[in-house]
């Protein structure tokens, strides 16, 4: 968490209900530093879009405060918040040219005509679309429209830029290109971004920090690496990336490290992500790429025997499916090189991994 002094955008105990019975957003508090790229990530209906809408001012805040630079905006109408927004469907005005679209936020601010023209030209250059100023949005491709939408959200130098699943409507190649574009502009201009998505790849590759939403609360807010390597609870472990989950019972607690007895009789050691007591039901997670199939040169702390089921050829890697003796299914990702083992169905193999790649949670 960022400390108090560096907080630029601040949510304090924000709650939202539509029906006065159930909370869509439950007690949301978060500090965002100036210039930070923060992503709200979560499944649909998790409350992330509601947070964005409250921030933009299109939804009212049931209770709590939102402030920018120490000034509360909770009771400010959306047109006085000075927040730029990129919508999923671009929301470009179809009856205005690209230039007119870019000029609109400046026109409503009564900026001088000559100044508007210069600024529009500058931003057209920024998104490398100088030749398209006189065109209408309908004459542009999806990626071009997205770039215009981005420029239009930035052109009035807002105190904050919101992006609501801006790449959702683009195909995969274009999406990656636009991710790069958004990151480039962010690094170049240093504005503060609140980005909403349900696409974790997008979130992991672009963000400084990610707040994972579920059920109206933030499950974890951390850097992409920390989120991936050290998910705080089973939901985050499951939601971010792929994961294997094995159930067991705590047999021994040694500070940060716990020993878990598996139903098949083996015992493994794992890092306890939250308080675990002796004899408690627990669940451990280990990522498919952190598992290795014996024989292997990789160091190992844990070993469990498994039975080979099948393998799927993906291309850059091969996905192996195993079963533990109690029936738990385990996926192992193996790089597609000469060492990739050959098994036939029913073969016994040993799976090994390190303590640091293995987290334990209460079941």
């Amino acid at each position: 968490m960022t400390n108090t002094s560096s907080a630029y955008l601040r949510f304090q105990n924000v709650k939202k209900t539509y029906d006065h019975e159930s909370l869509v957003v439950k007690d949301f508090s978060l500090d965002v530093a100036k210039g930070e790229f923060l992503t709200l990530l979560g499944p649909s209906g998790s409350g992330k879009s509601t947070v964005l809408m409250m921030l933009a001012g299109f939804e009212s805040v049931t209770s709590g405060e939102i402030s920018i630079d120490g000034v509360s905006i909770t009771r400010l109408p959306p047109y006085k918040r000075n927040i730029g927004m990129v919508f999923q469907n671009y929301a470009l005005f179809p009856h205005m040219t690209i230039e007119e679209n870019l000029a609109y936020p400046l026109t409503v601010r009564n900026m001088a005509k000559a100044k508007i023209r210069d600024r529009v030209g500058e931003y057209l250059g920024l998104i490398e679309m100088q030749k398209f100023g006189k065109r209408f949005p309908g004459q542009l491709s999806g990626g071009q429209r997205q770039r215009v939408a981005l420029a239009r959200a930035l052109i009035f130098e807002p105190s904050l830029v919101l992006m609501d699943e801006p790449l959702g409507a683009l195909d995969k190649k274009l999406r990656e290109q636009m991710q790069y574009e958004i990151t480039r502009l962010h690094q170049m201009m240093g504005y503060t971004v609140i980005y909403v998505t349900h696409d974790q790849t997008e979130a992991l590759s672009m963000s400084d920090r990610i707040a994972v939403f579920d059920d109206g609360i933030v499950q974890q807010c951390a850097s992409p690496a920390e989120l991936y390597e050290r998910p705080r609870n089973a939901f985050v472990a499951d939601f971010i990336g792929e994961n294997n989950f094995i159930r067991g019972r705590v047999s021994k607690v040694e500070g940060e490290v716990v020993h878990i007895a598996l139903p098949g009789g083996d015992t493994v050691t794992a890092r306890a992500e939250s308080e675990l007591r002796h004899d408690q039901e627990a669940i451990i997670s280990v990522r498919p790429e952190k598992l290795f199939v014996e024989p292997t040169s990789h160091a190992s702390d844990n070993r469990v025997p498994a039975r080979f089921v099948t393998r799927h050829y993906v291309g850059d890697f091969i996905r192996y499916y195993f079963q533990l003796s109690d029936g738990t299914e385990i996926t192992v990702k193996v790089l597609n090189d000469l060492t990739a083992p050959n098994f036939s169905e029913g073969d016994e193999a040993g799976l090994v991994w390190l303590i640091k790649d293995c987290s334990a949670y209460p079941a």
Partner: protein
């Protein structure tokens, strides 16, 4: 023309061409009573039927005397003037009120949407004679019977449902995030409405206005109840003309009305195409 399928037999051909004949007959049934008026309005004789000279296409059998008569008769001049004054004023009023109503009804937070819609559209469904009678008694209290204002208000009420329907139709395709985008960029709600919403729903607004104008333009029942001699409109004048002065002047007026209607229809079609272009996003 499309090639007919190879498997067609006698009955297929009969059905195929029979359908075409039937369609032509239906079209004639709809159009002939209207079209017949046009040549008759050029009759040199004061009759409502074709003379022998007309059938021989003798130029002397045709004249524009009835048109001249229309423009020389102060009663016709007054009624034409009244029709346009009342029509334009009523259409303007219905367009403004109807558009506001449609925008309100399109809002997701509007309560009792169905009930209010039904109430607002009722002037279109309730028989005009009932509305006219009701208005007569109601307007009497406010001294609006026999005044231009009364007639304008009454016709505006009749025109509002058309505006609501056409504007609602364009609003259903309207992307609310455009409005949000404008507000987020710092435009006040009123400015965003004026700059973004109005231009995009303009085709619906204009065609609603035209419908409202036409509604007022050919309305006779309410006029019979509310208009005094000074508020006579074209349909009202035709109505009395049919009884008092049986001559083709009425046909000349009718022909001009047909031309106005066609002009309005063409305008509507052009507007529809324009709006479609904007929706496709390729307007210039």
């Amino acid at each position: 023309m499309r090639e007919l399928p190879a498997y067609y037999g006698f009955w297929h051909y009969l059905g195929h061409y029979g359908l075409r004949v039937l369609v032509a007959l239906v079209l004639a049934f709809l159009m002939l009573p209207i079209l017949i008026i046009i040549p008759l309005s050029f009759n040199v004789e004061p009759y409502f039927s074709f003379t022998e000279g007309m059938l021989r296409l003798d130029p002397d059998a045709y004249s524009t005397r009835w048109y001249e008569q229309v423009f020389n008769d102060p009663r016709w001049i007054l009624s034409i003037k009244n029709s346009f004054i009342v029509g334009i004023a009523a259409a303007t009023l219905s367009t403004v009120l109807g558009t506001i109503a449609a925008v309100g009804l399109a809002s997701p937070v509007m309560p009792f949407k169905r009930l209010i819609t039904a109430l607002l559209l009722s002037p279109m469904i309730v028989p005009v004679i009932i509305i006219a009678a009701g208005m007569f008694f109601f307007y009497t209290r406010f001294n609006l019977v026999g005044s231009h204002l009364g007639l304008i208000l009454a016709h505006a009420a009749l025109g509002i449902p058309f505006v609501i329907i056409t504007v609602t139709a364009t609003l259903t395709g309207f992307d609310r995030s455009l409005y949000h985008a404008a507000i987020g960029m710092g435009a006040s709600p009123l400015k965003a409405f004026w700059d973004i919403v109005i231009p995009l729903i303009r085709p619906g607004v204009i065609s609603g206005g035209l419908f409202a104008f036409v509604t007022s333009f050919d309305e006779v029942v309410v006029v019979l109840f509310l208009a005094g001699p000074a508020q006579r409109t074209i349909p009202r004048q035709m109505f009395s003309g049919l009884r008092e002065q049986i001559n083709p002047t009425i046909l000349a007026v009718a022909t001009m009305l047909i031309l106005i209607s066609i002009a309005l229809l063409v305008t509507l079609e052009l507007l529809r195409r324009r709006s479609e272009r904007i929706r496709m996003g390729t307007s210039a």
